[in-house]
Symmetry: C2
Subunit: 164 residues, 2 copies
Amino acid sequence: MALETLADAFYHELCDIYHAEKQLTKALPKMAKHATNPQLAEAFEMHLAETQEQVLRVEAAFADTGKAPKAKKCEAMAGLLEEATSVLEEDAEPGVLDALLICAAQKVEHYEIATYGTLCTWAQQLGYSEAKSLLDSIMAEEEAADAKITKLSRVINKQAKVRA
Amino acid sequence: MALETLADAFYHELCDIYHAEKQLTKALPKMAKHATNPQLAEAFEMHLAETQEQVLRVEAAFADTGKAPKAKKCEAMAGLLEEATSVLEEDAEPGVLDALLICAAQKVEHYEIATYGTLCTWAQQLGYSEAKSLLDSIMAEEEAADAKITKLSRVINKQAKVRA
């Protein structure tokens, strides 16, 4: 049986978020490059540095499972990032592009928050104390990143032309 | 210019969530059918009825834009649901399957919460009062659905065998 225990489910989801974070490190430079608001570009660059470091922490969280780190293609993150980067190909007014990039980034953050929320709960139940501590720290960063970008959106949305 | 104003961005995102909700009405019956915990199956069935009704409210929210409702393929929801339904094909122990279904459902709810959050903010800014009211009501339901399933997960996670 492939998924016989909660430990198997934990490993399954950890492989998923490991791939998701790796994918995100490839998309964030594009998002930073195309963001027109300098604060937004800086926020994406900072989150890239944070994400690169999170990949290492997710990798370290595998230790408690006794299995090797494995990246399993995360279809959800692939879809989220396809949406985020497809916006860059549209012929968009700068303020509107920034508003749409923020929307895409918030969806990504929410995906991560949902996943880490589950992983933290399961790690606790499994007695994976090292993984729990690592994943808790990432969860806190994702929540902070979401709050930061939401705050920034209040300024940026106002810069977008409301109607033609 | 395809995305010249915030009104264009709003329409773009509304077309996305319209498709996403429609996709969800196709996946929830499968999730309900395979859930082994009767309370979880019931929660999915109730959320199906809610989602079918939300599709109509999203459709009605288009009125303020002055444009016809259009479903634009939502790649993110496609990825989220591919993940949710791929779990059903795995050889999983019933309690573990339920835990993974809850995890998938929470990711879906978070996707919707992020999207409706942005849409409500933009509707307010655009003076789309009817759309704002409709989307606010859906947002409240999504948050309630997420809270309900999180509560249920506390019972269901305990039913999953922790380790082999």
